[in-house]
């Protein structure tokens, strides 16, 4: 075996893997521009003969992908923001404020949440939101999403805050700053890298969440993308081009985000799993 050949074996194998990952996406992308099932069936691999941009308008408006899209966007965003701020405040109180023993207990208590698999709580959460009278509203997703992200967020932000030197805060105290302003003007800005990581992880988690959003929301106009997509597929079972268009709409924003923030995303998601 020549050295060049030996050197290229890993590349050949990994390229095969990359093709397996990317081929479905290209297939979906091309199919989304094709006129109908026949055009897909005849040339599954090729570029469309005629580019049907009409599919996108039809899926966006008629199939209500736009509604699902904005529901997902604002739910994922608001819940991630609120979750990050709550976790940051809690982490600050636990790590920096002088309530040693109680803080240690609270920290342990919150971390127990990471042991509980999400789907185990499904029925009990369903009954809970029913009892609270918010079943079928966006609150029934916003609250569990925000709560569900807390253990991981508190863990990660606490770890980050412990690594920040205390001098700045001590100087602020000497200057007579009160604790609320200190948190807002000194601690939060210093913690931004961790906050961004946690925000991205929570945002992606909420954006992708399916189980709760499918079963807790029954009104079509309130559905989020993952649940709406399933609904959409069941309704347009036979129109594959349109389904592919829907997939593109839901996958594209995440991929764009990933293109710009891949290091942060990978770091955040893997940190969450290892530390948990």
């Amino acid at each position: 075996m020549t050295p060049t050949l030996r050197k290229s074996i890993p590349h050949i194998l990994m390229m095969a893997y990359v093709v397996v990952i990317l081929a479905p996406f290209l297939f979906i992308l091309f199919s989304s521009f094709k006129a109908d099932n026949l055009a897909i069936a005849l040339h599954p691999f090729g570029l469309p003969k005629k580019w049907e941009f009409e599919n996108y308008r039809e899926a966006w408006v008629k199939a209500k992908i736009n509604v699902y899209f904005f529901n997902s966007l604002y739910l994922a965003f608001s819940s991630a923001v609120v979750g990050v701020l709550m976790a940051a405040a809690t982490a600050f109180a636990l790590v920096r404020m002088k309530f040693g023993r109680i803080s240690a207990w609270i920290y342990q208590f919150v971390l127990i949440g990471m042991l509980i698999p999400g789907n185990v709580l499904f029925i009990a959460q369903y009954l809970l939101v029913q009892k609270l009278g918010i079943l079928g509203t966006h609150w029934s997703l916003f609250l569990p999403y925000t709560a569900g992200a807390l253990p991981f967020s508190v863990l990660l932000i606490c770890a980050f805050m412990r690594s920040i030197p205390r001098e700045l805060e001590e100087a602020a105290i000497v200057d007579g700053m009160n604790v609320l302003r200190m948190f807002g003007q000194i601690v939060l800005p210093l913690t931004v890298p961790a906050l961004v990581t946690v925000f991205i992880v929570n945002f992606l988690g909420n954006w992708n969440e399916y189980l709760l959003s499918f079963f807790f929301i029954s009104k079509d106009s309130l559905r989020t993308l993952p649940a709406g997509m399933v609904q959409f597929r069941d309704a347009f079972q036979t129109n594959y081009a349109l389904i592919c268009t829907g997939i593109v709409f839901s996958v594209l924003p995440v991929l764009v985000l990933y293109m710009f923030l891949q290091r942060k995303i990978i770091e955040g998601l893997t940190a969450g799993s290892i530390k948990g």
């Binding site: 890993p10 990994m14 893997y17 990359v18 990952i21 479905p24 099932n37 069936a41 599954p44 691999f45 709550m86 976790a87 405040a89 109180a93 636990l94 920096r96 404020m97 002088k98 609270i106 919150v110 042991l115 509980i116 698999p117 789907n119 185990v120 709580l121 499904f122 029925i123 009990a124 959460q125 369903y126 809970l128 609250l143 569990p144 709560a147 569900g148 807390l150 253990p151 604790v179 609320l180 992606l204 954006w207 992708n208 969440e209 399916y210 189980l211 499918f214 993952p226 649940a227 997509m229 399933v230 597929r233 594959y240 389904i243 997939i247 996958v251 995440v254 990933y258 799993s273 290892i274």
Partner: protein, 293 residues
């Protein structure tokens, strides 16, 4: 200056909302699960205490037993087939200089996407009329397979989709551990004349054992957490062939409002998760010493 950081009102303001929300949506549901699990509540009638009847019924329920079996198949598939492949792939990626970042980014990509959308996407690929897979297989002369409608093929189809989505995530985990190994160790072995595969097997793999253990633990937990993909791709069908514990539980609760029985099933899932990870810890992970550089 101490008093600033000892302000109990601010402390409560910062801690209480988190604790309250966390308690309401984590601890309280966990506690009520244990309560409902011992009742026969169906959403309408009174909740009657029925002792362990739900749990006994669950293990007598042939459909549920089948779903446990499916969970175990998924677990074995991910630990015995996926994990070795994951290790090989991360070794391959760690060995190349060019395109390393590209491979890492690409293989990781499916794990950031929604499982439900991936289920739809792969459902389309498995489609016997227009799907990508069938076109490819038929051009090679294979007969048409109704992947998701065939009781023999539906579960493998889901296993493949699940592996496609998650393998990259674990590859990146292990890759990070491999790249953290000091280069000198590898170079010393190279100078001693060890070949690439030898260095990988005798040097790298033992050094990354802790992270392999983490990956196996995560795979065990992941195998018990599988639910979205089943609900989206097959809904547990055909004829319960792909039902896993969680999808069976969701259907019981939502379709039949069998809350008492359903929560009992969720407690069983939780118990499985705890017992299996604890067993793995005791049997395998504890024996190894941590490697410190």
């Amino acid at each position: 200056m101490r008093s600033t950081l000892k302000n109990p009102y601010v402390y409560l303001l910062f801690v209480l909302p988190t604790i309250a929300l966390y308690f309401l949506f984590f601890i309280y549901p966990m506690l009520t699960s244990f309560y409902y699990g011992f009742t026969n509540w169906n959403g309408l009638d009174t909740k009657d205490y029925v002792g362990f009847a739900n749990f006994a019924n669950a293990f007598k329920d042939a459909d549920f037993r089948h779903s446990i079996l499916n969970n175990l198949i998924i677990l074995l598939f991910s630990c015995c087939i996926q994990v070795p492949l994951i290790i090989v792939c991360s070794l391959l990626i760690s060995g190349v200089k060019r395109l390393q970042g590209f491979y890492k980014t690409t293989v990781f990509m499916p794990s950031i996407l929604s499982t439900s959308v991936i289920g739809i996407l792969w459902g389309f690929i498995y489609d016997p009329d227009v799907g990508l897979l069938d076109k490819t297989l038929r051009s090679l002369g294979a007969p048409t397979i109704y992947w998701l409608a065939d009781t023999n093929w539906a579960l493998p189809a889901i296993l493949i989709t699940n592996a496609w989505q998650w393998m990259g995530f674990y590859i990146v985990l292990i890759l990070a551990a491999i790249l953290a190994i000091p280069r000198e160790i590898d170079e010393a072995a190279r100078i001693d004349g060890a070949t690439g595969p030898q260095r990988a097997w005798y040097l790298t793999v033992p050094l990354i054992k802790p992270i392999i253990n983490v990956v196996i633990m995560l795979s065990i937990a992941g195998a018990l957490r599988v639910v979205d993909i089943v609900l989206v791709m097959t809904g547990g069908g055909p004829a319960g062939a792909t039902d896993v514990m969680a999808s069976y539980m969701v259907n019981k609760a939502i379709k039949y409002s069998d809350y008492g029985y359903g929560t009992a099933l969720s407690i069983i899932i939780f118990a499985f998760a705890l017992v299996l990870t604890a067993l793995y810890q005791i049997l395998f992970a504890r024996r190894q010493e941590r490697v410190e550089f």
